[in-house]
Symmetry: C2
Subunit: 292 residues, 2 copies
């Protein structure tokens, strides 16, 4: 049975971007905006989403539901949806596209399959699909075939086989590198700033790692308004690694770093962070205040 | 008083490389090879070092002593030297060039100054000085002026001011980036290999981070025979970061990774590691065996 209607829970930057592409390709895209912020509502309606009054109504109309939420909400959202799945929705495909450990994906699968729907494990890599080649939705599990027929000019679904957990594993490994590197950078330069060797370190890098400081200057100002969302993602990566017998410390430490950044900036309502030196000074002042 | 005689404890790859440069520049370079391996003895004598029968004899002849040892030995070596310092050596300059936290450098300083000698904090960045521009010896503390007059065509001393701990801080920050990145890479690809997504990850990197896998292929085979030396260096970095109020977890996790690599390879007598895929298989087998 080909998918014609897709529900997206919940349409943030990534969800609304993916929904917009699917609308452009002629699919009906539903969501439930009850209780969401005016900004999210505006974004979803502008992207061509159809609002439904509640989850039961949404489930009665859709072939497929895609969950794109903060990782810490993946299980509670699945539970909420599962409670509303009726025998009439038994053909439903539930796609969890969240940045969660394979272990967590298996828990979500158990909840959804227990309610009588089908489950697909997913992992999104890239940024919202504003143009071709930016976004890849990796999927795995026994029920991926209908999703692979979904298409969008700027959206690619890639099958990773029939095992639930594989798509989540790939997302965890990929994010461990990108967001792990950013956490490592922050550790290094916060320490250098606090110990008065940042200038010397930059001079040394100019000799031995010339592109490094420039990459930090480009990347780090984007972190303050995203750090809050990365805390539980780092914890899911720690769980993934713990599951194969590695010490989870590196990513528990990365989670702690993003908690720190979030504590410094989120309360100040930053949407884009300040330049790197100002960012360092603010974090240093926060640490100094904490240590007093 | 200009330095004419320099003692190096102990002449491994870096120590013998630095000593060789100083010999070429006309300095007398001493060491004490008692109890060292035949390989170390051969290396030191070929580099032009003069052997002395014991530490007391070495101290009676030298203006300056440079300690280049594994980080976990920095304090015990300082203690051993301090016990042999006589009032006759009160002009001695002790340079700790080890990869240790500023806190540890301050402890070494206390031991050495307590014995009546002068202390210089040092940190070596780069590889052994086989050609110009490879090696920088950063130094800090109130007694750096005589060292700054030392010169070697392939060896540069750089002053970081009069505070003991600054040179160590720079070394810690620099190494947190280089060896921290290597530890992060290992976390990512060991996890990917164990969860069956390494091929998918490499394909994704080909699109989104094209140089990454090639850099890993170049770098990681050099890790097995160095991992053992990096364990305590990572712990010193953790201590450094803990000292400014950051969670030490990331570098405790990096230490655990190098413990794992060392456990897999050291017992097998690897001097150069195998290619990356063989390396991953060996680590995966070890983890699998541990988890059984």
């Amino acid at each position: 049975m080909a998918i014609k209607t897709i529900a997206i829970i919940s349409p943030g930057d990534m969800g609304s971007g993916i929904g917009k592409v699917l609308v452009q390709e002629g699919y009906q895209v539903l969501t439930c905006l009850e209780g969401r912020s005016p900004l999210t509502k505006e974004l979803a309606l502008k992207s061509g989403f159809q609002d439904t009054p509640n989850i039961a109504s949404l489930l009665s109309q859709t072939d497929c539901l895609i969950s794109i939420v903060p990782p810490e909400s993946a299980l509670s959202v699945a539970q909420e949806i599962a409670e509303q799945i009726q025998s009439a929705n038994s053909g439903l495909i539930y796609v969890d596209c969240n940045a969660i450990a394979p272990q967590t994906a298996l828990k979500v699968a158990e909840i959804i399959e227990g309610a009588g729907a089908r489950f697909v494990d997913g992992g999104i890599i890239g940024s919202p699909p504003e143009r071709k080649g930016l976004t890849r939705v990796y999927i795995s599990g026994p029920d991926t075939s209908e999703l692979l027929e979904l298409h969008g000019q700027n959206l690619e679904f890639r099958d990773l086989g029939d095992k639930i957990g594989t798509a989540s594993a790939l997302k965890m490994c990929y994010a461990s590198q990108t967001k792990g590197t950013t956490a490592l950078w922050l550790h290094t330069i916060i320490t250098a700033q606090s110990l008065g060797v940042l200038d010397a370190l930059r001079n040394e890098w100019t000799l031995s790692h010339p592109p490094l400081w420039g990459r930090m200057e480009d990347n780090l100002p984007t972190v303050p308004h995203r750090a809050g969302r990365w805390i539980s993602e780092m914890k899911e990566i720690a769980l993934t690694m713990d599951g194969i017998g590695l010490a989870p410390d590196v990513f528990e430490g990365a989670a702690a770093m993003y908690e720190l950044v979030d504590a410094v900036f989120n309360q100040k309502g930053y949407s884009e962070g300040p330049p790197i030196l100002e960012l360092l000074t603010m974090i240093e002042n926060h640490l100094h205040h904490q240590n007093e």
